[in-house]
Amino acid sequence: MLELRGVSKRFGGVVATDDVTLEVTRGEVHALIGPNGAGKTTLIGQIAGVLATESGRIIFNGADITRQPAHARVAAGLARSYQITSIFRRFSVLDNLALAVQARSGTSFHFWRPVLAERALFDQARAIAGEIGLSTRIDAVAATLAHGEQRALEVGLALATQPQLVLLDEPMAGMGPEDSQAMIALIAKMRERVTVLLVEHDMDAVFRLANRISVLVNGRVIATGAPAQIRADPEVRRAYLGEELAA
């Protein structure tokens, strides 16, 4: 479904992603792991279209989207959640989600009819709120949510655009054990409908959820395979996992 061929990105003299070749098959949860600074968020940014890709190709559902602007990729079925929460803080949870639903339901160059009259939008938003476990907080202003709730909303916004592929950038960042379990459950449910590219540091989550894992170190993919394979791979252990498993 998603194919990266030789994707690279430099910032001045620094090479952030280096000739990355990767593919995500439909229906899988594909985890992307690696040490801090390995270039994972940069890669997500390139796939999402927020960062320009000068060399390499990004192919989504057979179409070359390398030069497509971010908003067009969303329309094509690609959504992304952020590592550092980026929601509409002064909007309520309902309004946050309704906005994402609105983005996917036709043009918003409508100037006269009040949005509140469009019940369908808000019904869908409520449904998603239910899925992400925020039904009871639906009218709360997003800025007042607890961290875990905000991360759930963060993912919810991506889901609300009805994507085929979701890029989750460390959804469990900064979460305690309870919230993490809830997020793992959410992703497990989500996978029935969407394909997931998951960037995470939480190895428990990764090994529970992932069909396949790719390891990114210094901007390069050093290994790809089933979880058991990756776990046993000596190079991976040396570069990254060794620290995680020993701990």
Partner: protein
């Protein structure tokens, strides 16, 4: 509803004035209402849209000059001249916006300022249309029936237009488009990330605001049948911004309140002698600008989150 009450008051007011045989205030009021329209158009792009445009005078003054030039060339019908003014202003906004909205932050502020100055210099160099001295019009626009020359009639025309503009803004703000604009103001990156082509929405908002600014310009030219080049100067842009800030950034009535407060304050200082103040400073009335400056400075410095903090004041549905 509150709005209806306000408009009823505004509608009765000139009749009261006429009864009191004091038509000066009717003329003053129509001037305030015209600036209210101009400030409201800026509020759309600045308050709701979050785009700090420092070049709004280009559309306001531009609209005025279009009407003025057409009038001098013989085209005085409001039905033709005013729509042309709106169209020209909207077109200018399209060009300026298309270029400026590629930039962000301070570059955006500077580039809108610079473009407006460009337009100022172009019009000022048109010697045959007044140049530095401004353009005198043969009179107000014609409607084909009745006359706009009557200050009372003129007031009601302006009042109706203001009501229409405010209503349209109200609908716009609560529409799909309005929501997207608000979302972009709140978190531009995320708005793009959930699939909205941010640039297009911002540009359209900018064009709409420019067009309404042009309408206000057409009206101000008619107010005194004279078009001053100062309408295009960046100080005018600043004055409109002051009105928006005073009245309430991102609120429906912000432009109206701001125009009323600012022009009212200037008028009070200039035309009403406060005895004890006059003893301290005999010609304090020549320096109304000082009071405006101090008031503005105080508001800006004391605003808790800065002016942008006011953006969130409106409750979202």
């Amino acid at each position: 509803m509150r709005a209806i009450a306000v408009f009823l008051l505004l509608a009765i007011f000139p009749l009261v004035m006429q009864a009191m045989d004091n038509l000066f205030y009717v003329s003053f009021a129509s001037r305030v209402l015209i600036y209210a329209i101009a400030a409201t158009s800026l509020n759309l792009v600045l308050g709701y849209g979050g785009m700090v445009s420092f070049g709004h005078a280009a559309f306001f003054g531009g609209g005025a000059f279009v009407v003025g030039i057409l009038a001098v060339e013989g085209l005085r019908s409001a039905w033709i001249a005013w729509p042309i003014a709106i169209a020209v202003a909207a077109l200018a906004a399209l060009v300026i916006g298309a270029l400026s909205l590629r930039t962000r932050g301070v570059y955006f502020i500077m580039i809108t300022l610079a473009f407006a100055q460009m337009i100022y210099y172009i019009f000022v160099s048109l010697k045959s249309y007044g140049g530095d001295d401004g353009l005198q019009m043969p009179g107000r626009s014609t409607l084909g029936f009745g006359t706009l020359g009557n200050d009372l009639v003129w007031y009601y025309v302006v009042l109706c237009i203001l009501a229409a503009v405010l209503y349209a803004m109200h609908r716009l703000v609560h529409s799909r488009f309005g929501r997207v604009i608000a979302a972009i103001r709140e978190n531009e990156a995320r708005a793009e990330a959930i699939g909205f082509p941010v640039y297009r929405y911002q540009l359209l908002c900018f064009v709409i605001a420019g067009g309404i600014g042009g309408l206000a310009g057409a009206l101000i030219a008619n107010q005194s049948s004279y078009v001053s080049p100062s309408l295009l100067h960046w100080i005018q842009s600043g004055t409109l911004m002051i009105m928006v800030i005073l009245g309430g950034v991102g609120t429906l009535w912000g432009g109206v309140i701001g125009a009323a407060v600012l022009l009212g304050l200037e008028h009070l200082i200039a035309d009403y002698r406060i005895a004890w103040l006059a003893k301290l400073a005999p010609n304090y009335q020549d320096h109304a600008g000082l009071a405006v400056g101090i008031v503005l400075l105080t508001i800006v410095m004391l605003a808790p989150e800065g002016i942008s903090g006011f953006f969130g004041r409106r409750r979202h549905a």
